[in-house]
């Protein structure tokens, strides 16, 4: 699989500028389609690339392959791609969640430790209310999932639109960056404390993060 993707990266460099633009739009659009078998996706993308390279050598136009409506053509391809197995999607979803919490717990632990070395008054022991932590964690996953879904939708929409404007990109940045960030802050500052209280030395967050990372790795291999 990685070999196919790598081969695609190298061969793509042989395309001329115009063909490369059309092909890469199709590539991104097809790769971002949800829940399609990755193996089949990469295989068909490679076949289309090989075919396009031959057309280019014969001085023929990409429209002879993709027709006049590349987006419609890509939709047709996606429609015929087999679905990936549910177990695999679940493992990949679990992997994403584990990586998400691995990063946030590890760096929270790391930052607090670092700050406490630099400034004496920072406490290395924190009190967590279990209920709040659970609700916040769950909400974060939901927010992150919505943001990722929205970003994929946006990226797919922006394929085949020649000359994406700068203002549009900035607008997308605001929506996908500032709004979720704001929501996280609101969530963590205004969520009332409830549930069982536990006292924790903050450095424990780092090994917890590492463990989550390895669970994520394991799920990734299983997928």
């Amino acid at each position: 699989m990685e070999m196919l993707i790598e081969e695609n990266n190298q061969k793509r460099e042989l395309l001329n500028e115009k063909n490369k633009q059309i092909y890469e739009d199709i590539l991104v659009y097809v790769r971002l389609s949800f829940s399609k078998s990755e193996q089949e996706t990469e295989e068909i993308l490679m076949e289309l690339l090989d075919h396009l390279l031959i057309l280019q050598k014969e001085d023929r136009d990409a429209s002879e392959l993709f027709g006049d409506n590349p987006r419609g053509y890509a939709d047709e391809i996606i429609g015929e791609l087999p679905k990936t197995v549910t177990k695999k999607s679940l493992c990949l979803f679990g992997m994403g969640v584990c990586y998400f919490f691995a990063t946030s717990t590890f760096f929270q632990g790391f930052l607090v430790m670092l700050l406490s070395f630099l400034f004496d008054h920072i406490q290395t022991s924190r009190t967590y209310s279990l209920g709040t932590v659970l609700v916040n964690s769950f909400s974060s996953v939901v927010i992150a999932a919505i943001v990722i879904y929205g970003m994929i939708r946006y990226l797919r929409w922006s394929c085949f639109n020649s000359g994406s404007k700068v203002s549009e990109r900035i607008f997308a940045g605001v929506i996908f960056g500032i709004i979720p960030f704001g929501l996280f802050i609101v969530l963590f500052y205004f969520m009332p404390s409830f549930g069982v209280m536990i006292n924790l030395e903050v450095y424990w967050l780092m090994p917890i993060g590492v463990i989550l990372f390895f669970v994520g790795q394991w799920l990734r291999k299983k997928a």
Binding site: L48, D50, H51, L55, G67, G79
Partner: protein, 109 residues
Amino acid sequence: MAIGSQLLKGVLEGCILAIMARETVYGYELAVKLQTQGIDVSEGSIYPILLRLQKEERIIGEIRKSPNGPNRKYYQLTDKGKRSLQAFRLHWENLKYPVDRLLEEKEDE
């Protein structure tokens, strides 16, 4: 796109199966063979059909080295594909003459 209707898609599917019954082909080769037979369709239209035929296990594709170097995905018929080609042939034979006759009669009027 030169191929739009369901009828054309079905016929093209039958032609693809017929070519693969004779030899193992890869995508571009298949497009060229269809064109030399005079079946003029947009070259890209074969790929969605190849995906569907694979999904329905009527053909199988295998990536291997081609004689002159690069890896290619070669397709061949499965037993299910062979049966499906036979069915297509039968339908086509039964339909071909009546439809031709019908269309000719209309022209004569």
